[in-house]
């Protein structure tokens, strides 16, 4: 990262920190696991159909994994799109784009700064959820060994490492949605359209994954990659879904970003 991009990135983060929608997303990401734990403490029964759902009361470490499952349908995509879909469009709409484009930073530097900030945000919301979930879960049910998807137990410390890896892997498909949101943000110049469009894209990817007859393409859908972390939770680890998520997500991230980059570099910035 060049010094120029670092400056732009720092200000993009500062701008995010000064805007309400950033906190709306962040607070939602942290509230979901809290609410989840509170409800399960008050109720009997549990999410037995989802991975690790049966062990939810065995250890707090299971909480974030279960919440990851629930939030992958639209929760995280929405929170991600809320910021990524806004990051170029809001500046088009407010006219501040012309202000920053007439200084000494190139369009490329500004674009890269914005991308890095969007991805940072995605990373932060996923890890915020993970940490809040693990802490709240541990308060409710203790910090105990975790039962893996293969049925064997791993130590709590090992469980934390698995959680960190899973969260990091989970950021990749979300970044794919962020990339699509940035593309829409750049092309439509309309924040609401970009947020809704990106959410639709995420839902479409999920929908294709459950329709009959899509089995052949299923491993390559963006939605499928939200489950890639299951590979980590097998003992021994199953690297196939993990490796596939790496390159499939790279494509889902690179293609929209490359397109958005070209559009951003060439587009007319007039009053719109």
């Amino acid at each position: 990262m060049t010094a120029a991009v670092a400056k732009v990135y720092r200000w993009e983060i500062a701008k995010l920190l000064a805007q309400k929608r950033t906190y709306l997303g962040l607070v939602s990401a942290m509230a979901v696991p809290l609410i989840f734990v509170v409800v399960l403490v008050l109720q009997s029964g549990g999410p037995n159909d989802v991975p690790l759902g049966r062990y939810i009361r065995d250890t707090g470490l299971a909480t974030p994994f279960v919440v990851l499952f629930f939030m992958s349908i639209w929760g995280f995509p929405l929170i991600t799109a809320l910021v990524a879909g806004d990051i170029v469009a809001s500046e088009s709409q407010n006219g501040t784009l012309k202000t920053i484009l007439t200084r000494s930073r190139s369009r490329g530097e500004i674009f890269v700064g914005k991308i890095l900030a969007s991805i940072t945000y995605t990373l932060v919301i996923v890890f915020a959820m993970g940490i809040v979930g693990a802490v709240a879960g541990s308060i409710a049910w203790g910090f105990h060994p975790l039962t893996s998807l293969s049925g064997t137990q791993v130590s709590a410390a090992h469980g934390v490492a698995l959680l960190a890896g899973s969260l990091a892997l989970y950021v990749l498909p979300l970044a794919g949605i962020a990339a699509f949101a940035v593309l829409l943000s750049t092309v439509t110049r309309n924040s609401a359209a970009a947020v809704v469009g990106a959410l639709m894209w995420a839902l479409l990817m999920q929908l294709l994954g459950v329709l009959p007859g899509t089995e052949a393409i299923r491993p390559y859908l963006l939605g499928t990659q939200f489950e890639a972390w299951h590979g980590f939770l097998r003992i021994p680890a199953d690297w196939t879904p993990v490796i596939r998520a790496l390159w499939v997500c790279a494509l889902y991230i690179a293609a929209p970003l490359a397109t958005a980059y070209v559009v951003f570099l060439r587009r007319d910035v007039a009053g719109d």
Partner: protein
Amino acid sequence: MSESLPISTTGLVKRYGDIAAVNGVDLTVERGDVFGYLGPNGAGKTTLLRILLGLIRPTSGSAKLFGRDPLVDGVRALDGVAGFVEGPRFYSYLSGRKNLELLADYDGDGARSRIDSVLELVELRDRAKDRVGGYSHGMRQRLGIASSLLRQPRLLLLDEPTTGLDPAGMRDMRDLVRRLAGEGITILLSSHLLNEVEDLCNRVAIIRKGGIVYEGPLNELLATAATGYRLRATDPERARVVLLSQGGVDGVSLVEGQLRFTADEEAVGRAAIALGQARIGITALIPETASLEELFLGLTGGESSDHDREAIVA
């Protein structure tokens, strides 16, 4: 040497569908000019400035700032150049000072150290810590100037900087422009206010429908217009007859006891003698230099009304 010209454009065109917002503009702005880019609403002033600032791509032709083309050199073409189009826009959720800090960081080059002095200059120092969202139009306009000056520009591009300001705000803004020009900054100022351009600028381009209909020094433009006169005399009716018989006197009319005509100075002198010999007393002879407004209407509106008339007749 064209390399060093603050602004030179050749055959610049920007089309939006059927509309040519900028239509074959060849513009040259020299060092030290305060150049007025004058035209009515929709004439293409903002569009030209957008091209110069690299915000939009021209359909054809080229624009150079100090020899650099924004299309080719990107943001490097804005070295030594600052300005804004339409109202300056800022992050409303950040303070005025934070906005300037952001822009100074985007500029680099020690711009941060100039923040206090530019805030002082535009008299925003007291309000710098408030969010821009709460600023009045005039304050934003001043913050726009301040943000431009952070760049220590040699060329300043201002798009109707006094629009929306109250009379005191307009006066302050014009004083500021004059002061900056006095410091040797070349200024391109778009405006639809004739008196503003007359007041501030040494050269003008008058534009209509994207094209330049006049370019040059103001005084030359004023000199091209035939000078009109108003005459009051003891016997207006007879005076009219005398004037009509004078060579070099044109457009004689008599309205409510007052005569109007156009003539050059020599013809006016001869007419005055002729009136005296006819024992007609001259009580007032008042030269009327065409105002920029009249020139402007002649250059822009006149043509359009001809068009309109033709359209109606046809």
